[in-house]
Symmetry: C2
Subunit: 337 residues, 2 copies
């Protein structure tokens, strides 16, 4: 079994588990509420389908981590659903916080049903994520379920920390490189490390192996995020699907930008004068590239990729699932989109 | 030990546990974030103190329930903190959803720091509540912790259901009495039943006793909510501390109002014409009283009080703590404020 075959078997199982979990709200007097959740998950409404669900990378990583320890991946399905629900809860609230009215090409939940309902939809996805975790008790000892839940809860607190830092940075004019890591560590990396850690724990891996899986996920997250930052400024619009350099226009405090600010050069001067306009993007991104922002970020991404793959090697992933995990990591890290 | 003495011992322990839990965010780069939580909890900022913390009724009920089973209440402290954190998470999000800029006489979190930060503060309180529950594992078997966590998660999903119904009712003009119970059952009652249920579970009560405690909390919540509805229309402003009849002006779908709407009389006619103005309150509340809204709600409150006290009796609460639990229930149910 290669990665493609693993995905073909695992994705439908993930989707089924997610639908079962979300169906907790499928009752007569909360039908419309349930619909808001199924819309956000990409199953219903205009534009429903694979484009709208997202790639389900996080639950796939949970299942592959369990399988790579040599255990059956099926009993990990509730945990896989739980991390995907956490991810989606944070997206629904993020969209309100960032005032984003589009997500994966469709109107966001708040854009369709208003902010109060969207807050409640995010809360419900979060609650259901917790409920999914407790379902693990059907196939795992309660002590393991508590340990897995603790990992996920700690991760969720990191998410709120990362979100706080991200929002508080918007008002600051004195940011530098060192402000980047706590923010990113709390967002993308925390959740990916929970995926690999919980997956390994449920596969009954030893403490050292679990730790290697956790570190693998963490650095995979960092490398992935830095690549995303690079693509957000210099990516090919036709490949990424986002308007090129939208991160500059949105004033996102990405790694290249924070590097550029630390240089106190012409880029920093322009950045501090206020929002970059669309017609300036080409000049400003070229300026940032000249001042070293792109090559710095590429070096960091390469470094983190190397660390991630070393930890994966230490984790001693087994069999076809181990191969698929490596393939998935490589795909995520060398992606052009 | 009577109720007053129980409160004097338990309240400081609850407050200490809450502060310890919330301190998870007390780090250099999240100090300001931590401050937002401590402000909401009533510990810091202008107006901090007993008035700002609220009465901590819910955690008190958890501890009294455990103690009434004959067990030590101290090991239940993390659960007591968890339910209070859930309550506070829901208040922070409610205030955003209802656009309320004051809570317990102080500016709400969103009014001070904006909606995006307030959403994140609520999320963090919710996460910390989950973390607190897992701390139970220090003094309880993991299987019991999982059971307690499941009860709390189910309750949280009920809260989002109740919140959904409450918000969706704002747009409806065809409400009747039967729409009241699912909404109220999901809000006040669900959380109070979790308090008594979890308290009894942690005290190692038998299944039947647990069930009696759960039902006691549920009907206590209903009786309490209906009383609140009555006071919101006919309460003495000097005693309740809210402006009299503010519920009518705010258009709250309380039990007396839904009863009145079902009568299709003059009250219903006026209600459907649009918001009640402050200078109409006296006339409209008199109209609703004449049409039977007040006496109906009083009868329901009395019925639910009776059911609650019968379940408490079935639960066989023991010792001084059992007496205090009855005293607290009576205090809540016969309150004039």
């Amino acid at each position: 079994m290669n990665l493609k075959q693993h995905i073909e078997v695992m994705l439908p199982a993930i989707e089924k588990e997610l639908q079962k979990q979300v169906a907790r709200l499928d009752a007569d007097n909360t039908r419309h509420f349930h619909e808001m959740l199924t819309y956000h998950m990409g199953w219903t409404g205009e534009g429903a389908g694979r484009e709208a669900t997202g790639k389900r990378i996080r639950p796939l990583i949970v299942l592959l981590a369990t399988a790579s320890t040599g255990a059956d991946w099926q009993p990990s399905l509730p945990a896989a659903a739980a991390v995907e629900l956490v991810h989606n809860f944070s997206l629904v609230h993020d969209d309100v916080q960032d005032n984003s009215d589009k997500r994966r090409g469709r109107p966001t939940v708040w854009a369709k049903w208003g902010v109060p309902m969207a807050i409640n939809v995010g809360d419900a996805l979060f609650v259901i994520s917790n409920q999914a975790m407790m379902d693990l008790v059907r196939s795992h000892p309660a002590a393991v379920v508590v340990e897995a839940a603790k990992i996920l809860h700690d991760t969720c607190l990191s998410l709120t920390r990362g979100q706080y830092l991200d929002m508080s940075y918007e008002e600051r004019n004195d940011l530098s490189l060192e402000d980047y890591w706590p923010m990113v560590g709390g967002k993308t990396s925390a959740l990916l490390s929970a995926c690999t850690h919980i997956g390994a724990l449920l596969g009954n891996a030893g403490k050292e192996e679990q730790e290697a899986y956790r570190e693998f996920g963490y650095h995979l997250g960092l490398a992935f995020q830095v690549q995303d930052d690079i693509l957000g400024i210099w990516g090919d619009e036709a490949i990424t699907g986002k308007s090129a350099a939208s991160d500059l226009v949105e004033g996102k405090n990405s790694l290249p930008v924070l590097y550029g600010l630390g240089k106190h050069g012409k880029f920093a001067e322009r950045w501090k004068q206020g929002p970059i306009k669309v017609n300036e993007v080409k000049t400003v991104s070229a300026l940032l590239e000249t001042e070293g922002g792109k090559s710095y970020a590429e070096a960091i991404s390469e470094r983190e990729t190397g660390i991630a793959l070393e930890y994966l090697d230490n984790a001693n992933p087994r069999g076809a699932a181990g191969e698929s995990m490596l393939e998935l990591a490589n795909m995520l890290l060398k992606r052009s989109q």
